[in-house]
């Protein structure tokens, strides 16, 4: 059975209403959000540092010296 056409869809088809956001955009935004949340959680779980401690802190010579001293 065909899906009933809503008023927005009808107006959209007639060129009277702006088109809705395409599905590929919604899916992409959702995927990016999921990845972002996953990365934030991973950072918090690993060591609470941005970038999972992979590129901060020790780049600073002072921090490196402290780390080495410890």
């Amino acid at each position: 059975m065909p899906r009933p056409v809503g008023s927005h869809e009808r107006r959209e088809a007639m060129g009277e209403a702006p088109p809705r956001m395409p599905r590929w955009v919604k899916v992409s935004v959702l995927v990016v959000l999921v990845i972002a949340v996953f990365l934030v959680l991973a950072m918090l779980v690993v060591d609470g540092e941005h970038g999972a401690g992979l590129h901060t802190g020790a780049a600073d010579p002072a921090v490196l010296a402290t780390t080495m001293a410890i």
């Binding site: 956001m21 955009v25 970038g51 999972a52 992979l54 590129h55 901060t56 010579p61 080495m68």
Partner: protein, 171 residues
């Protein structure tokens, strides 16, 4: 302002050159970045950090800025516009984010290179230096995503694009 055919082809050629070059340069950077994670040889580590800094400063940053500028010029100078199609908006957003992350990363890469270049840095200290691998992989993934979007150009007008099109249809 619309670009003439010759101008459009020239800007497009430059855009293709710098954007694909950006991807290639990030791939080269990624190889060195991976070496800093996988190798424990002090000579390899020193060379990798210095090479990463050189590639970022002299190749990646200029190509990234050039990509952003030429992308904006092409968008504004052709029928695609800057905010009319979702694929253009998303490509622009991703390029801006990639460039911003790159610009904030310069200091880190430079600091790593300075430590690696310092003769007093011991092999143990070299091996303890951090890597930028997560950003390299993420950056490359973003650039490939933009490339795919630009090749496929998926359909979808924004509200702004629809309004512009409706207005031009009426006139």
């Amino acid at each position: 302002m619309r670009l003439r055919s010759g101008q459009r082809k020239l800007v497009l050629s430059v855009h293709l050159f710098v954007s694909v070059g950006w991807i290639g340069a990030v791939a080269a950077y990624l190889a060195l970045d991976a070496a800093t994670v996988t190798s424990s040889d002090p000579n390899v580590l020193r060379a990798a950090y210095l090479g990463m800094d050189l590639i970022v400063q002299t190749v990646i940053v200029p190509l990234a800025v050039a990509t952003l500028v030429t992308a904006i010029v092409i968008s504004l100078g052709t029928r695609w516009g800057l905010f009319r199609h979702y694929w253009v908006v998303i490509s622009l957003l991703l390029t801006v984010v990639a460039t911003a992350v790159l610009l904030t990363e310069i200091r880190t890469v430079d600091a790593l290179a300075r430590i690696a270049a310092d003769p007093s840095t011991t092999p143990t200290e070299l091996a303890a230096l951090n890597s930028t691998l997560v950003h390299s992989i993420g950056g490359l993934a973003v650039l490939v995503a933009v490339l795919v979007l630009n090749v496929y150009k998926p359909r979808g007008l924004t509200r702004h694009g629809w309004r512009k099109q409706s207005r031009s249809d009426r006139t």
